[in-house]
């Protein structure tokens, strides 16, 4: 295996892994952009999405795409409920209060899943819904059918999101609210509805990411949201939090870095890479790759 082949192979692995991070990072970044809150429960939405997909396939005998769609709808509703019940009352409170609520929600979902008789502590195998095939792109450079599927769906969802944000009225409202909530309200935009819509959108993307992740790694477990959630946040920060294209680029970048490190023999420290990347980014350019320095107004 030559070095070029190795690099190409890791690039492919990294991009397909990174596309999942990017999907999740979009949820973080949109919510942060609009209400300046790190939604800690986002990783758990990812986990719940994966489980809804899993049970739709195993218990309801759905096909893969209907199952993913069910998971996305379910999590969209969950996201709206979360926002309405837990975050909305705290919108004007001290930000630490909202953050703690988010952490509380994250713990709540995780432990409810743990205590639920269908889920429990042990990891479950995600069914291999499509026959697994490997395509040889070049000598020693392969990509599996699942990875292609993951990449295609992720790219499709990102394009759909770009369309919603830039071409629809709701997207326009989202951009307006994230720019200036009060001015948006004066212009007759229903801010509450827009925020709920943002949560629905972000959560459904996380659900899709969860199902794709589960399909690729073949397992679902109640703690699966923790590390991908953390990494997706790092991806969002890398690209510049609040900036949608930034989240996509950040996700891909993180995915590629991670596969590069595990290929270089540091698979043990794979999980530490994201953390190191975050620290370095915060030291060097805290606004992220695409971020502009915004002066804070009082």
């Amino acid at each position: 295996m030559t070095i070029t082949q190795q690099i190409l192979q890791q690039l492919i692995n990294g991009i397909s892994l990174g596309s999942v991070y990017a999907l999740m990072a979009l949820g973080y970044t949109m919510v942060y952009g609009i209400i300046k809150l790190i939604n800690f429960a986002h990783g758990e939405v990812f986990m719940i999405g994966a489980f809804v997909g899993f049970f739709s396939i195993t218990k309801l005998d759905m096909g893969f795409f209907p199952a993913m769609f069910t998971a996305m709808i379910f999590c969209a509703i969950l996201g709206v409920l979360m926002e309405r019940l837990a975050y909305k009352p705290l919108r004007n409170a001290h930000r630490v209060a909202a953050l703690m609520t988010a952490v509380g929600l994250s713990m709540l979902f995780q432990n409810l899943a743990l205590a639920h008789s269908w889920i429990g502590a042990s990891a479950k195998g995600f069914p291999q819904v499509f026959p697994l095939r490997k395509f040889e792109l070049m000598e020693n450079v392969t990509i599996s059918s699942d990875r292609i599927l993951m990449l295609v769906i992720a790219i499709f969802l990102m394009i759909a999101l770009q369309f919603i944000v830039h071409k629809t009225l709701m997207g326009k409202a989202m951009r307006a609210v994230s720019l200036d909530k009060d001015a948006a309200r004066l212009m007759g935009i229903n801010v509450d509805k827009t925020i709920s819509f943002t949560f629905a959108l972000g959560s459904s993307l996380a659900a899709a990411a969860g199902v794709l992740f589960a399909l690729n790694y073949g397992i679902v477990v109640y703690q699966m949201g923790l590390l991908p959630g953390l990494k997706a946040f790092v991806a969002a920060v890398l690209g510049g939090i609040g900036i949608i294209p930034g989240a996509m680029v950040g996700g891909l970048l993180l995915g590629v870095t991670e596969s590069a490190v595990s290929a270089a023999g540091g698979s043990m420290f794979r999980d530490a890479v994201a953390f190191a990347a975050l620290i370095i980014m915060l030291l060097v350019k805290p606004t992220g790759l695409f971020g502009k320095n915004v002066r804070e107004k009082v």
């Binding site: 837990a86 705290l90 409810l112």
Partner: protein
């Protein structure tokens, strides 16, 4: 002068009480199980009060307090278990343990500085995610470090911690942190919590004070970790997980963000509750997270707010209650008259 004298007198009295309890434990007047639980309570008081310095006083949000406890615990455990590593072999027994605890705290403080500096420079919530990540990374690194036993943990530590040691540590922690809060540094920290931009405009070097508070809190977390390790006589990566950080967070929130006495009370209460609810272990975390959410929704400053529990507060609230009751009675009378 009289004030200082009475403060010293209070301290001496407290220590005497602690020592008396320890003697009662040694004489087995207090059940060994209770003795163990009381020691854990004292250790959690250290953890909760130090976390309160970051979350309550400074208004920052750390989610990795257990990670700093792990750093302190492992550092101290390495020192006490290897008689000629790091510290020269002339220090043995309890002296070695005390020095190891201090070094564990310093190591945690150093790590706290490295973690805190990049994230505290920025406004916003980066600290939360960085500390959360830090806790996870520490766990992963410890799992893979064979020298300290990897996943199975580091066993066979001597049992150096007794109730009095933990009690003494908690008194030291409370005294230092209380004095810090009441100093000009503490007021600077409070001003950051209340309004960071305003504080900066008034010339408070916000980053420096946030880092100072964070490092102090990490130090005490490290010492608490060392105490815990030498109480249970082992450390494993599983002893200091995210769940412990959440428990400490709940103690701070329950007691009131910024209230030292609240944290102490909540630490004692929650440790007791965790023991009493052992049968419902599976549901404990569900309960805790619901509690956290509901307190935040209905009393975002915590149960006690930032008030300190003291006799004058009790007197005050009693007075208020009585005044309210009187007013009600009067209202009732006037209503009846109409």
């Amino acid at each position: 002068m009289a004030k200082r004298f009475s403060a010293i007198l209070q301290l001496v009295l407290l220590l005497a009480v602690g020592y008396a309890i320890q003697m009662a434990m040694d004489a087995e007047l207090i059940n060994r199980y209770y003795a163990h639980v009381m020691t854990i309570m004292a250790i959690f008081v250290v953890g909760a009060v130090s976390l309160n310095l970051i979350n309550g006083i400074c208004g920052q949000f750390s989610l990795g307090h257990a990670g700093f406890m792990a750093v302190g615990a492992y550092t101290a455990a390495i020192i006490t278990k290897n008689p000629d590593l790091i510290l020269p072999a002339i220090f043995t027994g309890n002296i070695r343990f005390i020095l190891a605890t201090l070094l564990g705290g310093m190591m945690a403080a150093l790590v706290g500085f490295m973690v805190g500096l990049p994230s505290l420079r920025l406004r916003g919530d980066y600290l939360a995610i960085v500390t959360l990540g830090f806790g996870e990374i520490i766990r992963i690194l410890l799992l893979n470090w064979d020298f300290v036993g990897g996943a199975s943990g580091y066993f066979g530590l001597a049992r150096h911690t007794n109730f009095f040691a933990a009690f003494l540590l908690s008194i030291i922690t409370i005294t230092i942190i209380r004095n810090f809060i009441q100093s000009s540094h503490g007021r600077a920290c409070i001003s950051i919590r209340e309004d960071e931009i305003a504080a900066e405009t008034m010339g408070v070097p916000t980053t420096r004070y946030k880092v100072i508070a964070f490092v102090i809190a990490s130090f005490f977390a490290g010492t608490a970790g060392s105490m815990m390790a030498h109480l249970t006589q082992m450390v494993t990566p599983a002893s200091f997980t995210f769940i412990l950080s959440i428990e400490l967070l709940l103690m701070v929130v329950l007691g009131g963000l910024g209230s030292i006495s609240g944290s102490i009370g909540a630490a004692i209460f929650l440790t007791y509750a965790a023991e009493a609810l052992r049968a419902f272990r599976a549901y404990r975390m569900i309960l805790y997270s619901l509690l956290l959410i509901f307190i935040m929704l209905f009393r975002p400053k915590g149960l006690l707010g930032n008030q300190e529990l003291s006799l004058s507060l009790l007197r005050e609230s009693f007075k208020n209650l009585r005044a309210r009751w009187r007013r009600k009675k009067k209202d009732g009378i006037t209503a009846a008259a109409e």
